[in-house]
């Protein structure tokens, strides 16, 4: 049983160390094979390790891994406020132009004019879910959601506006 050993000493390098080296090599090979077989044997007998998700059946109890990325969303709090300042960092960071920021001018209670986002347009059909926009955002306005059932009958439905209608920027976020 010396598969693993042969992978190490593959090709032309001859076993070194004469007969003793040869015997040692065979023993290490057998040992390393037994280690591999113990691992698979463990998995074979411990069915609780099985990671298969029987997806359409367990839709309610589906257990997605923490880092699974489904789409970009912008979280809003209960007062319909978001954290996006419209800095365009995400738009610049996106490698394939998925995000477009459309501005509007807003008047603050003090009477100053202030630039704010009108719409944050997100093209899911172009997105590769690379997470670069989320990393680039200085105010953590966008995050990756775990929804993944995105199929629709019309491509235009994949173009989404991330901020809710009538939403405002949160107090204190600059």
């Amino acid at each position: 049983m010396s598969n693993d050993k042969n992978i190490k000493s593959a090709g032309s390098s001859p076993p070194s160390g004469g007969l003793g080296g040869y015997i040692k090599e065979v023993f290490t090979a057998v040992k390393s094979m037994l280690v591999g077989m113990r691992r698979t044997g463990y998995y074979f007998t411990h069915h609780k390790e099985i990671i298969t998700q029987q997806y359409p059946d367990n839709r309610e109890t589906l257990n997605l891994p923490e880092r699974f990325k489904g789409e970009v969303v912008m979280p809003h709090d209960e007062k319909n406020e978001h954290r996006c300042t419209g800095c365009q960092a995400c738009e610049l960071a996106c490698p394939n132009g998925t995000i477009k920021v459309i501005f509007k001018n807003e008047v603050t209670p003090e009477g100053k004019k202030k630039k704010a986002i009108d719409k944050l347009v997100y093209h899911l059909e172009l997105c590769t879910l690379c997470n670069l926009c989320v990393v680039a955002c200085p105010s953590d306005a966008i995050v990756m959601a775990q929804t993944f059932e995105h199929s629709v009958f019309d491509r235009s439905k994949l173009t989404k506006v991330l901020n809710n209608p009538g939403s405002k920027i949160m107090e204190g976020v600059e």
Partner: protein
Amino acid sequence: MLSFSEIANSIHEWLSSHLNNTWTLVVEMVIAGVLVISLFALLGLILVIMERKVSAWMQIRLGPNRVGPKGLLQSFADTLKLLVKEGMTPGGADKFLFNFAPFLAMIVAMLLMAPIAFAKDFQLWNINIGVLYVTAVSSISVISILMAGWASNNKYSLLGAMRSGAQIVSYELSAGLSILSVVVLTGSLSLSDIIASQQNGWWIFKGHIPVLISFVIFLIAVTAETNRAPFDLAEAESELTAGFHTEYSGMKFALFFLAEYINVFIVCAIGATLFLGGWMPFHIGNWQGFNNVMDYIPSSIWFFGKTFFLIFVIMWFRWTFPRLRIDQLLNLEWKYLLPISMFNLLLVTAMAILGWHF
């Protein structure tokens, strides 16, 4: 107690009381043929679902679980699919050889069934050179692979066939030498004699470490001879699509597939017979009570239990180790297995002459 040999004897008596000698023989041959074919079909169904379940559990998956209870009827569905599929013959192929190759593979597998003792006194052909017969006939199986590879007129098939030829021819040596070590200890080539010699303990226990080494070498060599991973270079999917059966479809493909599993069963049955005592129950020295309990289990269950254990070990190999490259494969045989098994045979011979085994 109802046993296979009693059933066979009563059938023989009933037939010979109704027919003359020749017709008894003919009817018995027909019955044996039908039984062998149905055993093939059954083994195919069982081994395929077993392989899929074992592979799934070893890879932390669930495996087939839709058809039937816990997916156990999956192989019926697969067989049905293969049966209704069209068997294509490529335009540039050598039609006669292309269509003949899968049948040759099956014929060889069938011939190999003959000397195997399935239970106590239950054997199709008690030939006095059983072991040699098995090694001889199994060497024909390489011809069917070479034939399929050549007749397909496809470079992948041809490459796969040549690889498998080189592999089988070289691993036959160490398989033969490890079989010889048991033959040396028994002094007979007949499978029934070999089983009878293990009455007081299986060779793997009686023969100490040398027989254990030859058992391990036997397992490795037969894994290579049946073209199974980690030695499946003949059908390496990533390099040769499917190797020698790239061009086969439908029932002709199914025959190759079935022949592979039947060959696995046969080599495991031979391994169980040589090293694990065939249908002999497990006995420990003088523990009369324990031995009597073991004797109570039917011999066929012992045989199939041991065989399926070895099949499981070979599947375990398959789903644990990565595939070897062709140079690693030949290195393993010629630089490691062959010298070790030759030296080991020498040890076993010395042991047999000096009587150092139990």
